[in-house]
């Protein structure tokens, strides 16, 4: 049911772990629903230089967590913020329909970590929304 890419990221997840002196941390989901993602970023000169995650969840949840760390690393904060759920799913060669919500979670966790980084650094900008 999962693509080879998903299985690869599930078996060999990139960037598992924690960053002790993280610039920002995001946590989304809850155990009741069976998915929790926690994501740490290190930002230097507005660039994400390190990123780590821990995930409680299904295969797709772990693979999307792993994939988003690969997509985000090396990007500017603004670029990283543009990473969509769709981009994560596509980078994994697709997800089964009932697992699409997992790619939501990964993007949300990254955005939460970026928000945390901004608020720690007084960088909150009014959102045009």
């Amino acid at each position: 049911m999962y693509s080879e890419k998903v299985m690869d990221h599930f078996q060999n997840p990139r960037n598992v772990g924690e960053i002790v002196d993280a610039s920002g941390v995001g946590e989304v989901g809850n155990a009741r629903c069976g998915d929790i993602m926690k994501l740490w970023i290190k930002v230097e000169d507005n660039i994400i230089t390190d990123i780590k995650f821990k995930t409680f969840g299904c295969g797709a949840a772990i693979a999307t967590s792993s994939m988003i760390t690969e997509l985000a690393i090396g990007k500017t904060v603004e670029e990283a913020e543009q990473i969509t759920n769709k981009a994560v799913a596509e980078a994994l060669d697709g997800l089964p329909p009932i697992k699409m919500h997992c790619s939501n979670l990964a993007a949300e966790a990254l955005h939460a970590a970026i928000q945390d980084y901004r608020s720690r650094n007084g960088l909150n900008i009014p959102r045009s929304q």
Binding site: V16, C33, D35, M37, K54, G59, H101
Partner: protein
């Protein structure tokens, strides 16, 4: 890579003797059992003989056996059939919170059709309290349906005791024996049941064929209308090879039941003990009233699917929750009904042993699982070693 199948509660391989018994009826003795000519007579005899075999194992009359397309159809026929045929007498049904979806979804549908359903709770081991059945019975109760053994945690219900209670009421008593039929005594008089469902593919027979036992005198409407097959209780050309396979599988599993159960209980208990050495592990279900082949545990801080995927990569087939709902985001309704918190219920693992399971298989999984649990816990934000 080694391939170890530990999901016998989901389905079982067809035994070679069973397949052999079925083979003549596909291409050679392929007649429609309803004709008057020789091909038909051979088919009819095969079906009659299968019916006799099944009836004998159930302690029933041949005419009380209705062949269906499987456990789900049997459950639906039992519940809807009794509901429709008796709705002028009453519209109250009693069941339990831990039934298979084939029972629960059918009950939910009947609720939308104007029936009232009482879902009895279970205790922390998954047991229904017979006195709760007694308390729930009302003058308008037409049906009590409680499963014989649970498909997830293997808990065996006190069916005979409940049956005694229901007997004194006007309700009929159905048991879903899909998980127990190849393993436990399913004599319908000893169990005091009026209706009993079973499915061939859970007991080393073919998929797509099952039985509903219907005690003589039980009023039941058909689910599938049409020809006069199965004494007008289930229309459709008889699945002759399937029916022959079902009977053969039931015959073999019953003949070897006690010996095989003793073997499985040893393996099962060895597996349970081994898994319990992993910290933060709970065994789900009763340790005494339990199917001989069922192991169900929760490893805290990890989620079931990722565990299954990793086991699969190491050649081991297992399950989390019931097979037909995996892919769903809901944790097991059975574990929740037993009082487990959601986050723990998400991390359940069911290993169900079978005729092919060896001690070496158990050793293999006991070597693999602790590593897998450790690896997934290391990835889990909930876990602090």
């Amino acid at each position: 890579m080694q391939r170890i199948y530990l999901d016998h509660a989901a389905t079982t391989p067809v035994l070679p003797e069973v397949l052999e018994a079925m083979l003549p009826y596909f291409s050679h003795e392929f007649g429609n059992a309803s004709g008057v000519y020789s091909w038909s007579r051979t088919a009819r005899q095969a079906v009659d003989q299968a019916r006799d075999t099944v009836a004998e194992i159930l302690g029933a009359l041949a005419e009380e056996i209705v062949f269906t397309a499987g456990g789900s159809e049997s459950d639906n026929l039992a519940i809807k059939g009794v509901a429709w045929a008796n709705r002028e007498r009453g519209r109250h049904i009693i069941t339990s919170a831990i039934e298979h979806h084939a029972v629960l979804e059918t009950c939910h549908w009947l609720e939308r059709e104007g029936f009232e359903v009482t879902y009895l709770p279970v205790d922390s081991q998954g047991l229904v309290d017979p006195s709760a059945v007694e308390a729930a019975l009302r003058p308008d109760t037409i049906l009590v349906t409680i499963m014989h053994a649970n498909n997830e945690v293997g808990t065996i219900q006190p069916i005979a005791e409940i049956g005694q209670i229901v007997k004194d009421s006007k309700a009929v008593f159905h048991t879903d024996a899909v998980q127990s039929a190849g393993v436990l005594d399913i004599n319908v008089d000893r169990l005091h049941v009026d209706l009993l469902s079973l499915s061939a593919h859970k007991l080393y027979g073919p998929k797509g064929v099952g039985v509903l036992y219907v005690r003589k005198g039980t009023r039941i409407s058909p689910l599938i209308h049409g020809g006069a097959h199965e004494r007008r209780r289930r229309a459709g050309t008889e699945n002759v090879p399937g029916i022959v396979g079902l009977a053969k599988a039931l015959e073999i599993t019953h003949a070897e039941r006690e010996k095989e159960n003793a073997r499985l209980i040893l393996l099962r208990d060895r597996l349970i003990e081994g898994l319990q050495t992993i910290p933060h592990t709970r065994v789900n279900g009763s340790l005494t009233q339990r199917l001989p082949n069922n192991v169900n545990v929760c490893f805290e801080f990890i989620e079931g699917e990722s565990l299954l995927l990793t086991l699969d990569m190491r050649g081991v087939a297992a399950s989390s929750g019931s097979a037909c709902t995996s892919g769903s985001l809901e944790p097991s309704h059975v574990l929740l009904a037993m009082g487990l918190p959601h986050e723990i219920a998400h991390g359940s693992l069911r290993l169900t042993l079978g005729r092919g399971t060896t001690a070496a298989d158990i050793d293999y999984v006991l070597a693999e699982i602790p590593q897998i649990v450790e690896r997934l816990r290391a990835m889990s934000p909930l876990y602090r070693a």
